[in-house]
């Protein structure tokens, strides 16, 4: 059933000698909800713009349905885009914004003549779209009379009414508040399933990526770090960057003593991973929720609680093990200063090959500062670096 629709082959993109995309290889299946996820400046928007036709890769090939489309301009691609700031036409009302694409005469594939859609059909298709995005009765409104969420829906309707094979969405929910964002996430997923078309979605919000996508592509520094289902990405991160970017992770240095046996802090733990060299140095990821707190004398590791934050469902507990601080999420209350032991099940331990990201993430020693940054999502810089390339 999964048919390949888009393929990027060895795509590299450089602006003024600065490499933004570094040899990207990616294929996208029909009907897929694929998310490009990564921090600002990772190249995700550039990838989207290459697919949309707004940028031509410096080298490499873009295929659409098996045909090379590097030089096909945006208006001749079966792809439509929902822009980051919606880019709705301020001089047109809601109806005319959505009808914009329909009113453009299309070349008839048989006799090459340009044909206009009959007004009747334009009207019924726009109305149908308005119903899908829950904006019935808004067709006469001007754009500046709409709220952010409504503008968002118009932008989606305007793109979808052209019945594209692929819809590109560039951080479409970035400007909405949290509650609205959650609603729109469900809405988008529903629309994607009803229309049965491919969505390529760009975001820096890992939660959004995990909850909506069939496939997540994690990017950093112009490279694809990992491609997989949300479960794969979360449970089997390929390197320290992915482990850190998706959810919370304790990332430790370990040594693979044998298949299924990894040594951390000179203690051997059972794990499910294998296929490493004997005594290979590895990164070990332990998710904060996979750690069981037990009385000190029963623990595989023993440590001291140094910080405690109540988060509602659980406590974020920072525990010092031999000078390395871990984040443990537990419903057990362990006061600061208490000595505890921990147990980790074999399936709670994920072993990764060493990478350029080793040692950069997964240490909660500077917990408090880091937490401030994580919890204050508004501080995440907008796509400043990527935006600079829009000028091209």
């Amino acid at each position: 059933m999964a048919k390949e629709l888009i393929r990027l082959e060895n795509c590299t993109m450089a602006f003024d000698g600065e490499v933004v995309l570094d040899n990207i290889n990616l294929y996208i299946n029909d009907h897929e909800f694929l998310t490009l996820l990564g921090p600002s400046g990772c190249g995700k928007t550039t990838t989207l713009r290459i697919i949309g036709g707004f940028q031509t890769p410096t080298s490499g090939t873009v295929f659409f349905d098996g045909v090379r489309i590097n030089d096909v301009p945006p208006h001749k691609r079966a792809v439509n885009t929902v822009f980051q700031k919606y880019a709705l036409f301020p001089h047109l009302n809601v109806f005319e914004n959505i009808a914009f694409g329909l009113r453009i005469p299309k070349a008839d594939p048989e006799n090459k003549k340009k044909v206009k859609l009959p007004e009747q059909e334009i009207r019924s298709r726009v109305m149908e779209m308005l119903e899908i995005v829950n904006l019935k009765g808004f067709e006469k409104r001007r754009i500046n009379q709409l709220s952010g969420g409504q503008q968002q829906r118009v932008a989606i309707a305007r793109a979808l009414v052209n019945q594209p094979k692929v819809l590109l969405l560039d951080e479409p929910l970035g400007a909405l508040d949290l509650k609205l964002r959650k609603d729109m996430q469900n809405e988008l997923k529903r629309i994607q399933q009803t229309m049965g078309i491919t969505f390529i979605y760009v975001t820096h919000d890992q939660e959004e990526a995990l909850s909506m996508s069939d496939t997540v592509v994690v990017m950093d520094k112009g490279r694809i770090q990992q491609i997989g289902t949300p479960e794969d990405i979360y449970n089997e991160p390929k390197n320290a960057f992915v482990a850190d970017f998706i959810g919370e992770s304790n990332i430790l240095d370990g040594i693979m003593r044998a298949d299924g046996v990894v040594e951390i802090f000179n203690r051997r733990f059972q794990c499910l991973d294998g296929g490493f060299e004997k005594d290979e140095a590895v990164d070990v990821v332990i998710r904060p929720e996979d750690v069981d707190i037990v009385p000190e004398d029963q623990g595989q590791l023993k440590g001291t609680v140094t910080n405690l934050t109540f988060k509602g469902v659980h406590y974020d507990t920072i525990v010092d093990f031999y000078g390395f601080k871990w984040l443990i999420q537990t419903t057990d209350y362990c006061p600061v200063g208490s000595r505890i032991g921990i147990k980790i099940d074999p399936d709670g331990i994920h072993v990764m090959k060493k990478s350029q990201y080793s040692g950069m993430f997964g240490d909660y020693s500077s917990y408090s500062e880091e937490y401030d940054e994580i919890s204050d999502a508004t501080l995440v810089p907008e796509e400043a670096e990527e935006e600079a390339h829009y000028e091209e």
Binding site: P73, H75, N80, A87, Y390
Partner: protein, 299 residues
Amino acid sequence: MRNKLSWLAAPYVLWMALVVIVPIFLVIFYAFTTANSVELAEMEGGLRGLFSMFTLENFARMGTYTVIFTRSFQLALVATVICFLIGYPLAYVMSREGPGFQRTAMVLLMLPMWVNFLLRTYAWMSILENNGILNNFFEAIGLFSLINAVFGTDIQYFHMIRTQGAVVLGMVYNYLPFMVLPIYSVIVKLDHSLLEAARDLGASTAGVFRKVIFPLSLPGVLSGVTMVFVPSVSTFAISRMMGGNNQMLLGNLIENQFLGGAYNPHLGSAIALVMMIIVVACMWIMNRFGEGEERAVML
């Protein structure tokens, strides 16, 4: 907009009251009176005198000047259309080019404005004179002998100065920057993603221009048209210098009533008032026409 600093505007408000509001009332007063009616009223005195002072006599004479009214509005309209036809493409190209080109083009556009207005117009006179620079040039390249040889005519020069064409040329030359600048500043500020969105939705380059750029640049066009049309209608220097006595415009007519031999400030005021009303009506209609877009851009 109540602001603690609003008192800073007081000098301007006072100035406006003195040099704009008061004169307008003076013009209205003069327009509805004549030298005779004022004299009569002074003799008669009292309330009756006051009523008998006001008269529509000046307006009754307006019909005499239909030709001049028509000519003024016609020439101003032609000049505005030409300014638009030259100015819009120029503004569009300028706004699409790189910053270096934009700066250079801007300086070139503004450069003539740094030269005195009268001097500029005199320069055109010496170019267009019967024995002026342009005719001498045609003579030198043998254009006249060629024409005379082919058509059997006896042309010594082209008659360019003191024609309507020369007046329009003077208007276009002097007021073109006022058309280009507002259009340019609107187009250059257009959100680039709107153009990308239009492309994305299937519009060709021409389609993007027709359906997005042009409608969104209309507010600039409106202010450009206003800034060219209004001074063109009321100019008297350009028409006097480039049009001589044949091409009298409203400006010259009014000037004549105040400073010239036909001294009659009452009639001059009436003409000025009628002109003002027509101009305001034109602008009002135009602004109604472009209101939707204006609001859109303010977003």
